[in-house]
């Protein structure tokens, strides 16, 4: 009876005319934490969905999946049989937190449903318990958050709601599909600790899908590397990361190193990784210290925008945005959330302005206001000479023709009924774009190449792509017409390191070529450090610190910035953490 908790053999997942995952095998013991890494679109999510029996329509699985204590094979089990396992013995955190929550149900109820579902908890207790669960995932003011609808929560908050839901019944097998992509580093650390604690405590199994090698290193005992639907390498974490066998794995390691560049000064991708020499090989080197060189590389270009700074492209003054959430009771006034408070900053043309900060600190809200999609409660926002606050749709036209936005949620921002080619080409339809109609196809193909998607992707619909692929579609759409301003919300959060490197390279190119002005939100300090010349740190709706990236990273002044920089994970650090998993540092 001491067999593995989960035994997967010969798992093949195929869509109508393509094989998405081929012959996947995995044996997972109780208490074991297995990481699944690999290229974006390599089939990680599909594998997870196949284990849960939740493949989308038109996609089918074959092979065998056995869960200890369950007589039947999970593949081919009836919906009835599976629904008895799901939520109880199998828990899953889905990749895209924004579309994974029911938009019309308060999140507290959604969590409570996971509890009541399997009989254990009566309704009232479930409500109570769901608030506790929300608290355990560090949602601020959990009782109130429980009353919020998903669209009233930030990306990272929703992701944590999903996590709370998956953890609700202490499942035997927890599958996490990129559970921390929307979380800032300090919250990320806490969530990882929460997950691994739980696994250790209950002796359950963890299948952890991530593109973040540092995260994988910090939590997983064993790593599986998937590429093109095929397992190309597996082994204990140390081994895979220190002595990668497969060239792809080696490439991934190279690409994850944002401090290393190739001969052209560009980040390594899997393709260019041949020339990569790991910096200070195995363990023990704190990554953050190596920040200086890449920032200095950027220094000369930074001079140009500085001169023109007399005329900022974006000028934000005393910006505040207050949301109201639904009432928790009839008698109390609706709760107010101060998403932005008294925010002021300037962005000059050509500047690369990074925004980092706590999950829920108002980053997405800020970007939406910059794009004129939301109106500030008070304060002024001038973008390219246009006052955004209080202007009407028509007046925003001019502003927007120079601006493109990439949303945090790629799925929601793609029209499900348009083919990807049409979606990407859409900005070209605007008057004043230089591309003639007959060249649209070619231009789309170019963009698909640039973001690393196959050209035939143009003919498919958004739902047929992986999370990372969708994110790239959104980026391609934003960049196709070479906007003057790009406002991007976590645009690379779902990308594997290689593709991420490719995208970051692309952005750098555009900045250089067209003087693209960038407002870039990311929770990944490394990415921001690499890409941005200026960084603003947000905390609880305020900008607590701004300055040149290097300076802020090297000498953080505000307490929160210090915590943030300190919690930043590098690959090696991650391994260190895992080694001392029992006594993880609580960051606050």
């Amino acid at each position: 009876m001491a067999g593995p908790l989960l035994d997967v053999a010969g798992l093949t997942v195929s869509a109508r005319n393509r094989v998405l995952v081929q012959d996947f095998g995995l044996s997972l013991a109780r208490g074991e934490r297995v990481g699944l890494i690999g290229e974006s679109g390599s089939g990680k999510s599909m594998t997870a969905a196949a284990l849960m029996g939740l493949l989308p329509e038109g996609v089918a699985a074959a092979g065998s999946v056995r869960l200890d204590g369950t007589a039947h094979d999970l593949i081919g089990a009836s919906d009835r049989q599976m629904s008895r396992l799901r939520g109880k013995r199998l828990g899953m955190v889905f990749q895209e937190p924004l579309s994974a929550l029911n938009p019309l149900m308060k999140v507290g109820r959604q969590v409570a449903e996971a509890l009541t579902r399997h009989g254990g908890v009566p309704g009232r207790a479930a409500a109570q318990r769901s608030v506790e669960l929300l608290a355990s995932v560090q949602l601020p003011d959990p009782a109130q958050a429980a009353q919020a609808y998903p669209h009233q929560l930030s990306g990272g908050q929703r992701q944590r709601v999903l996590l709370a839901m998956a953890l609700a019944n202490d499942p035997d097998l927890l599958i996490c599909d990129e559970p921390t992509t929307a979380l800032d580093v300090s919250v990320q650390r806490q969530m990882l600790a929460l997950i691994s604690d739980g696994v250790a405590r209950r002796g359950s199994g963890l299948l952890f899908i991530t593109h973040d090698l540092a995260v994988a290193a910090s939590i997983c005992d064993r790593i599986l590397v998937l590429r093109g639907g095929v397992l190309v390498e597996q082994g204990p974490t140390d081994e895979v990361f220190s002595r990668p066998q497969h060239p792809y794995t080696r490439g991934l390691l190279a690409a994850s190193d944002l401090d290393a560049t190739d001969s052209n000064g560009r980040l390594f991708t899997v393709a260019s990784a041949a020339g990569y020499v790991p910096a200070g090989v195995p363990a023990g080197v704190p990554a953050a210290t190596a920040a200086a060189p890449s920032v200095t590389v950027r220094e000369p270009e930074q001079g140009v925008p500085d001169e023109a700074s007399a005329e900022p492209l974006i000028r934000v003054r005393n910006l505040s945005r207050t949301f109201r959430r639904g009432r928790t009771s009839l008698f109390r006034p609706p709760a107010e959330v101060h998403a932005l408070q008294d925010v002021s900053f300037d962005v000059t043309p050509g500047q690369r302005f990074g925004v980092v900060g706590e999950s829920g600190s108002g980053k997405s809200t800020l970007l939406r206001i910059l794009a004129g999609l939301d109106l500030p409660t008070s304060g002024s926002v001038v973008v390219a000479g246009n006052e955004v606050a209080g202007s009407r749709e028509g007046q925003l036209r001019q502003l927007r023709s120079q601006l493109q936005i990439v949303f945090q949620d790629p799925m929601g921002s793609l029209n499900p009924r348009m083919r990807v080619g049409e979606i990407i080409a859409e900005p070209l339809l605007l008057p004043g774009t230089p591309v003639a109609a007959r060249h649209h196809g070619a231009r789309v193909a170019e963009m698909l190449d640039a973001v690393g998607l196959p050209r035939e992707a143009a003919h498919r619909y958004p739902h047929q792509f992986s999370g990372g692929q969708r994110q790239r579609i959104a980026i391609a759409r934003a960049l196709i017409c070479e906007p003057r301003i790009l406002v991007a919300d976590e645009p690379v959060s779902a990308l594997d390191v290689s593709v991420r490197a490719q995208i970051l390279n692309l952005l750098s190119d555009l900045v250089d070529k067209y003087q693209l002005t960038l407002v870039f939100v990311s929770h990944d300090l490394g990415v921001v450090r690499h890409l941005c010349d200026t960084v603003a740190v947000m905390h609880r709706g305020r900008i607590v610190e701004t300055g040149p990236t290097g300076q802020v990273y090297a000498e953080p002044r505000h307490e929160y910035t210090k915590t943030l920089v300190a919690s930043s994970l590098s690959l090696h650090e991650g391994e260190r953490i895992r080694a001392g998993a029992a006594s993880h540092p609580a960051s606050f």
Binding site: A15, R16, N17, R18, P56, E57, G58, V59, A371, G372, L373, E393, L396, R397, Q398, L399, R400, S401, L403, Q404, I405, F407, D409, G412, S413, L414, N415, P416, R417, M418, E422, E426, P427, L429, L430, E456, H459, R460, Y461, H463, Q464, A474, R477
Partner: protein, 275 residues
């Protein structure tokens, strides 16, 4: 990709049924077994026979000829009424849903008034001004059906407008018309298609009711709706009189509904997995 798309059974069945009706309508221009208008009192109320496939009615007219001929009227009435309603109502609804505020207020309250306005009154009014007849009736029915389309389109639009892909398009300064065409319309198309097919059925029957009030197709020109209506009294004695036009209407409505369903499902990329 574009090769060898499988037609859904609904779409196929719908297409077959609709072409049947269309075929009957076209055929009636060239040939009907008997004059559909001429009465032969001596041959009245006969059952099906080789001479009269579907028997004869109370006037001794050949029902089959009437059905063939009636297909014209039915198609005409249904399509034009639906066309009017959909082409006016849907854009209005989308407009109201996209431009909230005064525009919405005016269009929707207008639609409310029109919705409250009995189609019968419209028909009488139109009949008075333009003379009663098939065209008048279907225009009245079409106009009377506008509010339904407007409200359905608006509700769908409201929902679509709150999605991020529309916000992305707005953020990218896409003109409203293009957003309406490329984002809103395709995403409410399912509902609109259903509305069309339902309205088609209702229009055909409404024309019959109006004919009965002297506001539709005047006798003796056969329209299915009126044939059915007139056979009401014979239900107890000659049920087949109601059967044939009833079946014909059912075929047409079913055809358009199936076609509508098929189209709806076809335009729903998520339903079909990969194609």
């Amino acid at each position: 990709m574009k090769t060898a798309r499988k037609l859904s059974p609904a779409l196929l069945a719908g297409a077959v049924l609709v072409s049947l009706v269309l075929g009957a309508a076209l055929l009636s221009f060239l040939w009907t077994p008997y004059d559909p208008v001429q009465a032969f009192p001596a041959d009245r109320l006969q059952g099906s026979s080789t001479e009269h496939l579907m028997g004869t009615d109370r006037y001794g007219r050949d029902v089959f000829s009437g059905i063939l001929y009636g297909a014209r009227i039915t198609l005409f009435v249904g399509l034009v009424a639906v066309g009017i309603a959909a082409l006016i109502g849907t854009p209005l609804g989308i407009l109201a849903g996209m431009r909230r505020g005064a525009v919405e207020e005016v269009t929707m309250r207008g639609a409310d008034i029109l919705l409250a306005f009995p189609a019968l009154l419209l028909a009488i009014m139109f009949g008075a001004v333009f003379g009663a007849g098939t065209t008048t009736a279907m225009v009245a029915i079409g106009i009377g059906s506008i509010p339904g389309f407007a409200r359905v389109a608006r509700s769908g639009t409201l929902q679509v407008m709150s999605t991020e892909y529309v916000q992305a398009a707005r953020a990218a300064s896409q003109p409203a018309l293009r957003i309406a065409r490329r984002h809103v319309l395709p995403n409410i198309a399912g509902l609109v298609v259903v509305q069309c097919s339902v309205t088609f059925g209702l229009a055909v029957l409404a024309e019959a009711a109006l004919s009965f009030l002297g506001l539709g197709t005047p006798p003796p020109v056969p329209s299915w709706g009126r044939m059915l209506q007139e056979s009401q009294q014979f239900l107890g004695t000659y049920p087949s009189l109601a059967l044939w036009p009833g079946a014909a209407i059912a075929v047409a409505v079913l055809g358009f509904n199936l076609l509508g369903d098929g189209l709806r499902d076809r335009f729903d990329p998520k339903l079909n997995g990969e194609r």
